[in-house]
C-alpha cells in the first residue's frame, strides 16, 4: 500500500512507516554481529499491525480514511516502545512490546481460551510462565478521538513525555497522554504543522501558554515578501508551506513550499537565510500541475543529525540533498532499477535546456505519479529512509 509517513525513533534503531491502508510497519536495525562485521546494521521488519480502520461519520455522511497521516515516537522509558499514530480524525497510542513468555495453567479457562465448566475446577493452581518464541505485540493503550473537525495533519510530543499536540487545519489540541476525554484547544488560521521546540524544556506546567510551542501557519510570522514580477495565478498555492522542520540544534527552521526549501534563522523573521530550489523547472508547468492536482502535493523535508544537510523529495522518484556549507546539491533516484543492494547511487540530472545530454531526463518525461513526499533521516547517522509510493528505500552512506 502507499506509504504515507516515515519516522525514525529517537535512537534511530526503529523506523516506523504508516500507509494508506491504516497499517503500521516497524523496522528494527539489526545489531552488527561478529559473523557479519561489515554489515552496518540493516533494518528488518520488527512488527506490523493495523492501527486504524476506515470509519463512517454518520453526521456528515462521509467516510473517514484509515490512512496514517503521522507517526510520532515517544521517548523510550522502559523495555516497551510507545508511539502515537493518527489518521484524519483519531490519534492512538500504541505500545509495542516483546513477549517471550506466556502463562499456562489458568484455572478458569483452557489452554485455547475457552471457559472451563465451573464444576470441573476441582483444585486451584498457580499459573506458571513458560518460554515461547519471541513475539512482538502491539496493543492500543489510548484512543484520542472526536476532537478535530478537519483533517489532523500533525502531532508533536512534548519533552515532558506527558503531553502532546495534535493539529488540524484550524485547531490545535493539547492532550495529556493519560486523558482521552478532554483536551485544551485553540483555534487558529490555517495550521500546516506543529512542533514542540526541542531546545527549551519548559517543564510540566499544564497551561498551554507555558509550553514553548512553535507553529507554522499559512500566512506565517515568518514570511518572505513576495516578488511582484514573479506573481502568477498560482503564486499563493505554490508558496503555501507543506512542511516545517526545526533543526536539531534548535536555531534554525526549514520550510518546504512547492518549489523550494527555505532555511530560516529563528531570530530573523523577515527573510530566510538560505533558499534552495528543488525543481525550479516546474515553474513553467504550473498550469498543467494545477490541472492534474500535483500542485497540491505536500512534500516533506528533513535535516541530518548535524543540521549540515537537508533533504527533500521531488517527482520521478527523485529526491534531493543540499549541503549547506559547500552549497553542493545532489539529485538521486529511489527506484528498483537504480538501487541494487550495496551499489552506489548515481546522481541524476534533469535537463532544463534544449540540449539533452546522455543520462539526463527532460522535464516532459518526468513521471508525476512517482512522487517522493515522505523522507526521514536517522537522528545521528547518515542513513535515510525514502518512501516512493508503496516502497520504502533505505540508503546509507558508504564508508570506505
Amino acid at each position: 500500500d502507499i506509504i504515507s509517513t516515515v519516522e525514525f525513533n529517537y535512537t534511530g534503531d526503529l523506523l516506523a512507516t504508516g500507509d494508506k491502508g491504516g497499517r503500521v510497519v516497524i523496522f528494527q536495525r539489526e545489531r552488527e554481529t561478529k559473523s557479519r562485521p561489515l554489515s552496518r546494521g540493516e533494518y528488518d521488519v520488527y512488527s506490523t499491525f493495523q492501527s486504524h480502520e476506515p470509519e463512517f461519520d454518520y453526521l456528515k455522511s462521509l467516510e473517514i480514511e484509515e490512512k496514517i497521516n503521522k507517526i510520532r515516537w515517544l521517548p523510550q522509558q522502559n523495555a516497551a516502545h510507545f508511539l502515537l499514530s493518527t489518521n484524519d480524525k483519531t490519534i492512538k497510542l500504541w505500545k509495542i512490546s516483546k513477549r517471550d513468555k506466556r502463562a499456562e495453567g489458568y484455572n478458569l479457562k483452557d489452554e485455547d481460551g475457552r471457559l472451563r465448566e465451573p464444576f470441573r475446577v476441582t483444585e486451584l493452581r498457580v499459573p506458571t510462565l513458560k518460554p515461547m518464541d519471541l513475539m512482538v505485540e502491539a496493543s492500543p493503550r489510548r484512543i484520542f478521538a472526536n476532537a478535530h473537525t478537519y483533517h489532523i495533519n500533525s502531532i508533536s510530543v512534548n519533552s515532558d513525555y506527558a503531553t502532546y499536540l495534535s493539529a488540524d487545519d484550524l485547531r490545535i489540541n493539547l492532550w495529556h497522554l493519560e486523558v482521552t476525554n478532554r483536551s485544551f484547544s485553540i483555534l487558529l488560521k490555517l495550521v500546516i504543522d506543529v512542533k514542540f521546540s526541542n531546545t527549551e524544556n519548559v517543564g510540566s506546567c499544564k497551561s498551554w501558554r507555558w509550553f514553548h510551542v512553535e507553529l507554522c501557519v499559512l500566512s506565517a510570522v515568518f514570511e518572505e515578501p513576495e516578488d511582484p514580477s514573479s506573481r502568477s495565478f498560482f503564486s499563493e498555492i505554490i508558496s503555501s508551506i507543506s512542511d516545517v522542520k526545526f533543526s536539531h540544534g534548535g536555531r534554525y527552521m526549514m520550510t518546504r513550499d512547492y518549489l523550494s526549501v527555505k532555511v530560516w534563522d529563528l531570530n530573523m523573521e523577515k527573510r530566510p537565510v538560505e533558499t534552495y530550489q528543488v525543481h525550479e523547472y516546474l515553474r513553467s508547468k504550473l498550469c498543467s500541475l494545477y490541472e492534474n492536482d500535483c500542485i497540491f502535493d505536500k512534500f516533506e523535508c528533513c535535516w541530518n543529525g548535524e543540521d549540515s544537510t537537508i533533504m527533500t523529495g521531488s517527482y520521478n522518484n527523485f529526491f534531493r540533498t543540499f549541503e549547506r556549507n559547500t552549497h553542493r546539491d545532489t539529485t538521486l533516484e529511489a527506484s528498483r532499477e537504480s538501487s541494487k543492494p550495496r551499489a552506489i547511487l548515481k546522481p541524476r540530472k534533469v535537463c532544463t535546456t534544449g540540449k539533452r545530454k546522455k543520462d539526463e531526463i527532460t522535464v516532459d518525461s518526468l513521471d508525476f505519479n512517482k512522487k517522493i513526499l515522505h523522507t526521514a533521516w536517522h537522528p545521528t547517522e547518515n542513513i535515510i529512509a525514502v518512501a516512493a509510493t508503496n516502497n520504502l528505500y533505505l540508503f546509507q552512506e558508504k564508508i570506505n
Binding site: E55, K60, P228, F233
Partner: protein, 283 residues
Amino acid sequence: MLGRGLKRKLSDYEENMAGLSSAFDSSRSLPYPLKRQLVLNMCLTKLQTYKMLVEPNLHRSVLIANTVRQIQEEMRQESNQQPVNICPGIAPASHSYTGMESPGISLQLPSGIGQQESHCCDLRSVEDPIENSLLIVSDDDMSSAISSILKDLDFVEDISPPTCLVPTGDDQPKFPENTGLKLEDDRQDLKGAECVFGSFEISNSTSYLKDLAIDDIFEDIDTSMYDSDFCCPPLTPPRSPSLATEEPLKTFPSCNSSSANNIQICRTDLSELDHIMEILVGS
C-alpha cells in the same frame, strides 16, 4: 486541441483541459484573459466535481477558492475601468473587498481567521503593474474569447455573448455585512452573473466558506469539554440560512453537508441528539 462538438462528457472535458493547460504553460502568445479564464474554469471544475466520499481537504479547497476570488476580483476591477457602466446602484471597490473589518458584520470569527482572509485579500489587491498594462483588451474581444471558450467546453449551458462583463451584483453575497439585502436582488443578480460566467455560484460559496464554515461546522460538535476558558471568541449563531445556502449547497460540497446538517440538528429532538452523541462518543 480544442475540439468542436455539442455535448461533451467529463472525460473529454478533462482531455481538453489537459491540452489547454499545456498550451497555457508552453505558449507565450496566449492572451492573458484567455489564460485567466482557463484557470478560472479549472478552479470551478475542481470545486464542483470533488469526490464526496471523503471529506475534502480544507487547505486545498481554500487555496482553490482563493484563486477563484483572485481572478474574479481582477475581472471586476477591469470592468470598473471600462467605460460601460453595468448595474446601477452598486459600487464595488477593491478595498471594500476586505469586508471583514466592516461594521455590521454579524459573525465574529476568531481573529486569526480574519487576518488570514484580509491577508489573502491584501495579496490580491496589490496590482501587478506588468499585468495591468496587458489588460488593454477591448470588451468585445474579451467577451467573445470567453464565450467561445465556454461554448467549446460546454461549461455553461446557454450562453449568449454578454454585453457587460462582470455584473457587480456578483459582489453582493460576498460581504457578510449586507445582511439587509433583499432576497430578490440576490436572485436577480444570480441570474445575471450566471449567464456570463457561471461562476456566481462559486463566489457565493467562497464567501460562505470564508464567513460561515468555521462557526457552522463547529456548531454540530459539542466541544464544551474540549475548549478551555481562554480560547476563541464567542461564536455567534449562524446567519439566516436564506441568504447564501441555496446555491452553495449545490456547488461547495464541504460546506454543503455541514450547513445541511446544522439545520437538521437544529430541528432534531433532544433524544435523537443524545442518540447521535452516543454514537459519536462510543465510536
